[in-house]
Structure formats: C-alpha cells, structure tokens
C-alpha cells in the first residue's frame, strides 16, 4: 500500500478533447539505423493538435499481441504528418520496426501535457539535453522554440557515434549542437551531464529541457538545482492506456509543496525539476 498521504493527487478529469483515435495512420516514410527507427505517420488531426513533449499510443497490431499500445513521443510534425523516433528494446518495438511504408497503424493522441513553450524565450538561450532515444521529443521542441526566436543549444549524448543517428537531421536546422559519446568516437568523451556541467557557465540559459535515461536526467536536475536554472524533464512509466483510465502509470510528484501520486500519462509526462522525486 502507498502511504495514506497525498490523496489529493487523485484527480478525476475528463480525457482531453484533443485526443483523437486515428486507426488508419499511414506510414509515409521510414528510416533506420542499427536499432533505431524513424516513422512518419500521416495523421492530420493529431498533427494539428500536437505540442512538443506530448506523445501518442501506438497499437502495433490489431491482433491481441502485443495487447497494449506503446507510448512514443511526438518527434516532429508538419500540417499532415507526425514522426516517431524509437529504439528497438523489446518485443513490441521489434514488431513495430518491421512495419513498412504504406502499412497503417492505429494511433491515439496527442496525449499528455507537453514542455513549456514560452514566447518570452525569444532571443534567449534555451538548452536541451537528450540521451539516446530520449532525443526524440527534443527535435519538435527545438523547432518550435527556434520558430519563436529562441537560441537553441542541444546536447546530444549517446554511447557511440553510431548511436547519434539524428545528427544529420539536427544539423540541417539552425541549432547549436554539442555532442558527447561514452567511447569518445565523437565530441566530448564521457557523460552528457558532465559535458553540460563543463559548458554551462558560458551559456547562461534561460531554461533547460531534458529527456533520456533517468540517471542522466537526475544529474541534469542536480545541475539545474545548483545553478538555479528552471528545467523540465520528460518521464517514462509503464502505461496501460495512456489516457488516464487505468491508473497504472502513477509516480510520486511534488505539487504545491505536497507530495502526491500523479498519473504520468495525464499530468505529465513532462514535469519541472521541483516536482520530480528522483
């Protein structure tokens, strides 16, 4: 049993009007690198509503295996399409990786609350730190903030150069990129959080964003705490539904000074550094 406190966190909300079920989202483009995949899905309704940091739930197959939908961040969008960028990590993502152009997927979205996109960031520096597949939502966010006129600096870390598969894609935009690899095959050798700590004094960001492994985000949150820089993080949790009815995705979150259990799918997946209990 959970502690009896924090019960105020049990919200009952109507599921966002924005959620759309698109059972015929056509795969229009596909790219792959090692165990990473990029799919472009034609889904005008979802594309129109999508905000950076939000996610979709993908039904990988109409048969009951895998039964549950899988959550993926919205990696980018245009008027008609959204993209997802994913890593093959288990049975569901392995099946998804086999889907080809002209196959269609049943998707639900956009879901959750996204990252803060503030017009006040115009002319200011914002930093994004993505590790491995955690880079996925940051592309969409970077594009939106760049459009607003923010100076976007992206720390993109991975094990090795061959895992930095979105490098070329990011470089086609007007973002400043900082690479780190654990084996030193490109950029800073070591952890992206150490690289960030080294570079931070010269960057003076207005805001920081991150997505990636928890251990990495925790270190970044510590740095943000020390330097008193506002920061937001995207969390993962096992999700039975993704839209708020199963209560499987809860995590302990600080809200208005109180610790409470919140549904990540509905109240997140993005939370501020003050809210997250690592």
């Amino acid at each position: 049993m959970l502690p009896k406190d924090g019960l105020s966190g049990i919200f009952v909300r109507e599921i966002s009007q924005d959620m759309i079920k698109d059972s015929q989202a056509l795969i229009t483009e596909k790219e792959s690198w090692k165990e990473y995949y990029l799919l472009s899905l034609k889904s005008p309704g979802i594309a129109q509503q999508a905000k950076p940091g939000q996610f979709i739930m993908v039904r990988i197959d109409p048969q009951p295996y895998p039964l549950l939908r899988r959550p993926f961040s919205i990696h980018s969008k245009d008027e008609e399409n959204i993209e997802i960028f994913f890593q093959k990590t288990g049975s569901g993502t392995a099946l998804l990786a086999q889907k080809e152009i002209n196959d269609s997927l049943d998707i639900l979205g956009p879901l959750g609350k996204g990252y803060k996109v503030d017009p006040g960031f115009k002319g200011k520096t914002v930093i994004m730190v993505g590790g491995g597949r955690g880079i996925a939502p940051l592309y969409f966010l970077a594009q939106e903030l760049a459009t607003l006129g923010a100076e976007v600096k992206i720390f993109y870390g991975a094990k090795s150069l061959s895992d930095l598969c979105l490098k070329d894609k990011f470089e086609r935009n007007d973002f400043k990129l900082f690479y780190s690899t654990e084996d030193g095959s490109l950029g800073f050798k070591g952890l992206v959080s150490d690289f960030l700590a080294e570079k931070l004094p010269s960057l003076a960001p207005e805001f920081m964003y991150s997505c990636g492994p928890e251990a990495m985000m925790e270190k970044i949150a510590q740095i943000a705490m020390e330097k008193e820089i506002p920061a937001e993080f995207s969390l993962e949790s096992i999700m039975g539904c993704g839209f708020g009815i199963c209560w499987s995705c809860v995590r302990r979150i600080r809200q208005e000074g109180q610790e409470t259990w919140l549904k990540i799918c509905e109240e997140g997946p993005v939370f501020s550094k003050e809210q997250i209990i690592w």
Binding site: M1, L2, P3, K4, G6, L7, G9, I10, V12, R13, E14, I15, S16, Q17, M19, K21, R59, P64, Y65, P66, L67, L68, R69, D106, L108, S237, I238, G240, C241, F243, G244, I245, C246, W247, S248, C249, V250, R251, W261
Partner: protein, 303 residues
C-alpha cells in the same frame, strides 16, 4: 433493427454491454469521446469508503494476449464520488452500477449505507474478489461462508439490487455462486482477474511491486467462458459474464454460454471505443442471422 435490450429481472438494460469496473474510470472521463448513452451500463471504479492511493508502482505488466495488474484499487471514496461524480453521471441515460469494495464486511456495509440515499445508482456490484487487496491474504470470494456473510449483511442494508462479482481463483466456482445466491444476491458477475505472476529475467525480480497481480484480457477468455457456463447452469439468478471480451463475437460466446449481459474490461484500455464496437457487432450479427431479440440466444449452447 434487433431488440438488444435485456432484462435482468432487477434491472433492464438497453443492451447487454456494460463497461467493467476499473477499466472505464468513473465513467465521466470518457464522456468527451464516446456517447455513454449508448452503453447498456457502466460499472464504476472500485469504491471503498475512504479515499485510497493504491499499490506501489510498477502496477502493470503485459503478458501474452493479456495484462497483469496490481493497481490496488486507488479511488476517491464515497464522499467525493457522490459529490463530484454521481450528479453528473445521472445525466446519461445508462445504468450506473457502483463497484463496492471493503476491507471488512462492515466497510462494504458502510459504503452501501452511504450511497443508499443518493440518486442515480441502478445497482451495486460487490467486489468480493479483488486479488490485489490483502486481507490476511484472503478475500471473501475465496470462501463460501465468507461470501455468504458479506453478501447477506450487505443485502440487509441495501436499498438497491446487488450483483456479486466472483473471483475465478477457486476450485469450485459453483459453490461460491450458490452461496451468493443463498445470501440473497440478485445477480452474479464473473470473472474478476486470475492471480498471476510476471518475472523479469534480467533482474530476477517480479515485474510488479506487489509481487502478484491479476491477469485479464483475451488470454483468460476461454477460462472465463467455462466458469460462466458452469455458474449459469447452476444458479437461478441472472449472470453477467466477462473476461477478455473485445468483439461482438466474444460477447455472443458468453451470451450463448448463459450470461444475460456482459462486461468489457481490458479492451477499453486498448481502444476507448471498445464497448461501442461490441454493441455494433452484436447488432450486425443479429441482423444478419435474423434474430429479432438478443435475449433469445441467452443460454442456447447445444450440448
């Protein structure tokens, strides 16, 4: 058009498809997305007297064609339920069935006592079978005497019909069903989830913080169907069948096996429109087969 309505004796439903407890929130959450008035009924999320936060995460693990959950019945308690939820639910013309939980017979009674005076509830579904909640490791649904005790004491206090929801984790389901009937239950629903375990081979830890969870979804359908048949063949009170239903065909199998109505659970998590799909497919089947009234096929298994 086929007449899809079914009469449980104590409750008339416009069609036999009900949303199952714990997989449809309190009902209102989905109101912006599906027309609740089309449903035969809604069983709300399990309700204890006081608010509760549930089990520690991870609370869910996927299994082959199923899922194992140990959500632990978090909920808002009777007060908030009757203030925030019920008045709004009343506006939808569908049967509202409240899933009643308790850690003791007294708690079941206090929930029912509190809700008796409220408007908008059609029946109570007594969740005596949740495998997640430890009551000295046992829940009333596992024992005929304990079942009799809780059902009869709630029945005495209740101003509404009672559906007793059975656990499949027993050797003799008919015995428990007969106990519930003897205790005055107006109907029976089955099944709740099957006690299950999921293991992470890398960490050699259970995948759920709670160790055990309850298996639901397509994986349990044949087991559930067998139990529904066994119970429906033995009791006189109406039976509501559930376990792995996600299509009109699944629902028909339960109706033919003897269920007067069905509940759709896990399928709602995968497809929020699952209940509507089941209703539509039932309608299509009956039309194709020239069945004028769906009640006609209840309990028609030829053996």
């Amino acid at each position: 058009m086929t007449d899809l309505s079914v009469d449980l004796g104590f409750l008339k439903l416009k069609n036999p498809v009900i949303a199952a407890s714990g997989t449809f929130g309190y009902g209102l959450e989905l109101a912006p997305h599906i027309d609740l008035r089309q449903l035969g009924g809604i069983v709300t999320k399990g309700l204890y007297f006081n608010p509760r936060s549930g089990n520690l995460p991870p609370r869910l693990a996927e299994a082959s064609a199923g899922l194992i959950n140990a959500i632990g019945l978090p909920g808002i308690g009777v007060e908030r339920f009757s203030e925030e939820i019920l008045p709004q639910l009343k506006g939808y013309d569908t049967a509202i069935i409240v899933n009643v939980c308790g850690e003791s017979d007294d708690e079941y009674i206090s929930v029912v006592d509190f809700l008796n005076q409220k408007e908008g509830i059609s029946a109570y579904e007594l969740n005596i079978s949740c495998p997640n909640v430890k009551k000295g490791g046992l829940c009333p649904a596992l024992d005929p005497q304990a079942t009799f005790s809780v059902v009869s004491s709630v029945k005495k206090k209740s101003s509404l019909p009672i559906i007793t929801k059975l656990s499949p984790n027993v050797t003799n389901i008919e015995e428990i069903a007969l106990s519930a009937q003897d205790a005055g239950s107006d109907g029976i629903s089955l099944v709740n989830t099957f006690l299950a375990l999921a293991v992470d081979v890398d960490t050699r830890k259970p995948k759920l913080a709670n160790l055990f969870g309850g298996l639901s979804g397509p994986a349990i359908k044949p087991l559930a169907l067998r139990m529904v048949y066994q119970v429906a063949s033995r009791v006189k009170i109406p039976v509501i069948g559930l376990g792995g239903i996600s299509s009109g065909q699944d629902a028909l199998e339960f109706l033919i096996a003897g269920a007067k109505a069905v509940e759709v659970g896990t399928a709602n998590l995968v497809d929020p429109e699952a209940t509507l799909k089941v209703i539509q497919e039932l309608q299509e089947y009956c039309q194709k087969k020239g069945i004028a009234k769906i009640e006609k096929i209840v309990g028609t298994l030829k053996c």
